[in-house]
């Protein structure tokens, strides 16, 4: 039997391919949207994984530095060590900054302050692509490759000039901003030290100037081998009036509290785009069916069964869906690295989208099939 769908497609292949490319670009955007979500989930966990702590100890009744503002005393790192189940501790300060890149563009960055001489260095050595980690207590900075700085470049932050001593790749905050690393002392100064004018003004007002810049946003800790991080966290919560989270708690906070809204937003866009793609495929097939309605009437008049005509329309729709999926993947893979934030394209997502598009294509073909079945064979007779 002649494959009518194949013949019809071959007859107007250029039109069909251009249509498939158009729908494919839409599906490519769907894949990118899913990739952006995947990227957000990965980005959210980069710092957690790089720091590698088992426990995150933060201000009481807060969810920690990534979700809520938290301030604890730096010496908490020493207090925690009293607990025999705690192995190593480190104090960390986090701060959002705007930094002027070598191109003169102001970019938002996420600053991580850590003690370069402490037990838990915040920089993952695998991310260092040039230079070294911070070794001095002041005025050294490690920046992300994305910012465009070179080693030994000078950067002004606050009142001081910092020298680039290291460049990392892939270090981003939960919001996808590039991460810069400074020493804890510098971070505290950037975060807590007021300007001289402000200090003078506060004094003139009779206000007590809060000169305590020995605050940090979190203290992280590792537990000794064999200890249960959940039990240690519970212990800290009970006797220290602090909030303590295990790394999995913190992961949950990041993925649920911090990026949940964004992921829902992306999810909504994805669902809408899949819906729009389905409607577009349905409209295209419907229009293609309308264009052939005279031929379909003739086919019915000369005796072709509905099944043969239905098969033709369904095969054309599925072919359009499959071609659009292929073009969509090519499109997504061609542009994914042009996006400013991380986009992660996974095969599982592509196959899931393929299944959805296959089902959507079959559903979309129903409009065309309905029109074909309703076509009046008598329309072929007479003028």
């Amino acid at each position: 039997m002649i494959n009518l769908a194949y013949k019809d497609i071959a007859h107007s292949y250029l039109k069909f391919i251009v249509t498939a490319m158009g729908v494919g670009m839409l599906l490519g955007i769907v894949l990118i949207m899913i990739g952006v979500y995947r990227g957000m989930v990965i980005d959210a966990q980069v710092l957690l994984d790089d720091i590698g702590a088992d426990l995150w100890v933060v201000q009481e009744n807060t969810l920690g530095p990534f979700a809520e503002s938290s301030r604890v005393h730096e010496d908490l790192k020493n207090t925690l060590r009293v607990n025999p189940e705690i192995d190593k501790t480190a104090a960390l300060a986090f701060l959002n900054l705007q930094i002027k890149t070598p191109d003169g563009i102001m970019k938002r960055v996420y600053s991580v302050g850590y003690d370069p001489h402490g037990d838990l260095p915040a920089i993952n050595p695998e991310r260092l692509v040039a230079g070294r980690s911070i070794e001095k207590s002041h005025y050294e900075i490690v920046v992300s490759q994305k910012l465009g700085f070179r080693l030994q470049d000078k950067i002004r932050l606050g009142r001081n000039i910092y020298t680039v001593v290291g460049i990392t790749k892939g270090a981003v905050s939960s919001g996808g901003d590039p991460v810069i690393y400074v020493s804890l002392k510098d971070a505290q100064e950037l975060q807590f030290l007021y300007s001289n004018a402000r200090i003078r003004n506060d004094r003139a007002r009779g206000l007590k100037v809060d000169a305590d810049n020995h605050l940090v946003n979190a203290v992280v800790a590792t537990v000794v081998k064999g200890s249960d991080p959940d039990a240690v966290a519970e212990n800290i919560r009970r006797w220290k009036h602090l909030s303590a989270f295990t790394v999995s708690d913190e992961r949950n906070i990041l993925t649920k509290n911090v990026i949940e809204t964004a992921s829902k937003q992306i999810g909504m866009f994805t669902v809408i785009l899949v819906g729009v793609s389905t409607i577009i495929i349905a409209l295209i097939i419907y229009t293609m069916t309308l264009e052939k309605i005279k031929e379909i009437s003739i086919m019915k008049l000369v005796g072709l069964p509905n099944m043969t005509i239905t098969k033709m329309i369904a095969q054309e729709t599925v072919t359009l869906g499959v071609l659009a999926f292929i073009f969509g993947n090519l499109f997504a893979h061609a542009i994914w690295d042009k996006f400013p934030k991380r986009v992660v394209l996974e095969m599982d997502d592509a196959w899931a989208l393929f299944s959805i598009i296959l089902v959507a294509s079959v559903l979309a073909s129903l409009f065309g099939v309905y029109k074909a079945i309703k076509a009046d064979p008598s329309a072929a007779i007479g003028g």
Partner: protein, 238 residues
């Protein structure tokens, strides 16, 4: 011509609508075209030619009466002999239209062999039959051409070949020469005449062109909702 029935109609009635909007198109109309007979159906526009053709082609249901196609009573007063009327069309009837109406995305040989393939013929047999017909109509060299690449006359010949591909004993032609100039129209009618004689089929051809009537054995006209048959000796024989 044989005495075998090609198309027979008895007391065929077709009424559209009801009440005040009722339109009686045909009323107790009867006709008979034997195998090997070429009949022309003539009538003014709106007289019911197309309606009659559609009922004979099992496309619309008559209100009453009987229709035989060959020896099969396909419509008996209020029902078709089978719910699958397309099967009747596929197996018994060949259609020729005003325009060629070839399927534009199939080449000429595929257009011709499509119905036999749907009827379950093996591909080789359908291809052989299609090629025989294309040779018969002198367009075998165009077998791989698309309809858009052929002239109007060549396409109409291919359309006639398609109508014959399922070896029907009945051909219903709806003004097959309407889109052709006189020279080509005569050529097509001569072709139909040859088919009638060589393949023993019954043809009913709707036409408005009186110049083509001498090629026909019978003239069926619709008068006062009835079919009037005039038998003549086709005096312009190919």
């Amino acid at each position: 011509m044989t005495n075998e029935v090609g198309i027979k109609v008895e007391n065929l009635t077709k009424i559209f609508g009801s009440g005040e909007s009722e339109v009686r198109v045909l009323e107790n109309a009867s006709l008979e075209v034997k195998k090997g007979e070429f009949a022309a159906l003539v009538a003014p526009s709106g007289a019911g030619k197309t309606t009659l053709l559609m009922m004979l082609g099992c496309v619309i249901e008559p209100t009453a009466g009987k229709i035989w196609l060959g020896d099969e009573l396909v419509w008996d007063e209020d029902r078709w002999s089978t719910p699958d009327t397309r099967r009747i069309r596929r197996e018994k009837i060949g259609f020729i239209f005003q325009a060629h109406y070839l399927i534009p995305f199939l080449n000429i040989v595929e257009n011709v062999k499509l119905i036999p393939l749907v009827n379950g013929w093996p591909d080789e047999k359908a291809e052989k039959k299609a090629m025989e017909l294309l040779e018969y109509f002198d367009i075998a060299d165009k077998r791989n051409a698309m309809p858009s690449q052929l002239s109007g006359g060549q396409n109409q010949r291919a359309a006639i070949a398609r109508a014959l591909s399922n070896e029907p004993k009945i051909i219903l032609a709806d003004e097959p020469t309407a889109a052709l100039d006189m020279e080509r129209a005569v050529s097509v009618v001569k072709m139909l005449r040859r088919i009638v004689e060589e393949q023993n089929v019954a043809i009913i051809m709707v036409t408005h062109d009186d110049r083509l009537l001498p090629y026909c054995d019978k003239i069926l006209s619709i008068e006062n909702r009835k079919v009037v048959t005039t038998t003549q000796s086709a005096h312009l024989i190919v």
